[in-house]
Subunit: 229 residues, 2 copies
């Protein structure tokens, strides 16, 4: 993948898992999720500067957590986020994130709102790089509704329902996000994505780049996100 | 304190402690320290765009942690930070921060380097809003060396050695920082500071502004820091 003259190596699913494990030897999940979610919010604020209402659809794991953090920063940036979060986690980190939604007065729902058309952008923070098919309820019907809506979707790290390496499913409904925000490094499925593509994850130490043989292009100034394509 | 047409209420030491406790009912220390340190790094990258070598002097508590996080982001921003961290903490958060310094290849020392003149900026992340005099060793001699050096000092939240409410000490050496980066809200001692003044802490929920009766001016775009004066 060519970005800013730099050839970015795309990670396999196993590599993505291993990079994550390597990061967590030195960082707490809280710290990295904060920066990941901030980078997603910054990508949206940059790409959809004129947007107002943003719906963050959050899955049960860390990808969902990135979506919750992004919702909080979007609110700080002056957007009007709402959250769909059907499968909530009892872990303290996620209990904190839910509490932050209440304190920030960000509405949190269990289901998609009936009219997706009232939103300018939808954030797909449902599944990340640890996803393996099939998509289980209630996310199957949520994904179907997102596919059928006309609202532009920003996918966090992996377009939900896509195979992490092979890309869109070969049968059935397939999400076609308008924008992709890869985190740390694009995964192999990103080769099948042709729209605007951002990279977040300005926190990977050089030791991890060297150990896993990948890199990031230079980020602009103090930005947490860099546009790749 | 007048900033951008907004009158900012300055917090007492007891209020600063209470606001912090209120924040930690909803956020982990890790998340907020990440954003606080990022805001300090962003203020330095904005104010000292041409700087290269930055020395982050880190105290034993959370103010020191903000300094360690700032060092990491400064390295990401292309600066060459070094760290002085004489009193290290065994808490997992701080063990992680030390580990991050190693992975980021940021040198960490126990003492000030002999020639402060080789640095463009010094970050004073020694004491924060929970400081009560006197300054104890080894920070007394460190502060003396900072006062006597000609290197511009950026103080994080409180100029170290200052009384949180009353400002500079009435006797003995007194640190005169070039820049102040207040976090969450300026404390009362900020009334005695006349230089360039930034505010970080773009994470305070409206519920906490209302409960404690303070506010922040609008931050620009996706910035984690706003200039007050």
């Amino acid at each position: 993948m060519k970005a800013l003259g730099v050839c970015l190596r795309l990670l396999s699913q196993a590599e993505a898992v291993a990079v994550d494990e390597a990061l967590f030897q030195h960082f707490s999940v809280d710290s990295l999720m904060e920066l990941a979610g901030l980078s997603v919010a910054e990508a949206i604020a940059t790409h959809y500067e004129e947007a107002s209402k943003v719906l963050c659809v959050c899955g049960p794991g860390n990808n969902g957590g990135d979506g919750l953090v992004a919702a909080r920063h979007l609110k700080e940036f002056g957007f009007e986020p709402e959250v769909v979060y059907p499968k909530r986690s009892a872990k303290p980190l996620f209990q904190n994130l839910e509490s932050q939604m209440r304190e920030m007065r960000i509405p949190v729902r269990d289901n998609l709102p009936p009219d997706l058309g009232e939103f300018d952008v939808v954030v797909d923070a449902i599944f990340g790089f640890s996803f393996t098919p099939p998509v289980r309820p209630p996310f199957d019907s949520i994904l179907r509704d997102l596919v059928e809506s006309k609202v532009p979707v920003v996918s966090v790290d992996i377009p939900s329902g896509w195979h992490v390496e092979d890309g869109p499913p070969t049968s059935g409904l397939s999400l076609a996000p308008a924008v992709l925000v890869s985190l740390t490094a694009p995964k192999k499925c990103a080769a099948k994505f042709e729209g605007p593509h951002y990279l977040g994850g300005r926190f990977v130490p050089p030791t991890i780049f060297e150990a896993f043989g990948f890199s990031q292009p230079p980020f602009p100034k103090t930005s947490q996100v860099v546009r790749l394509a």
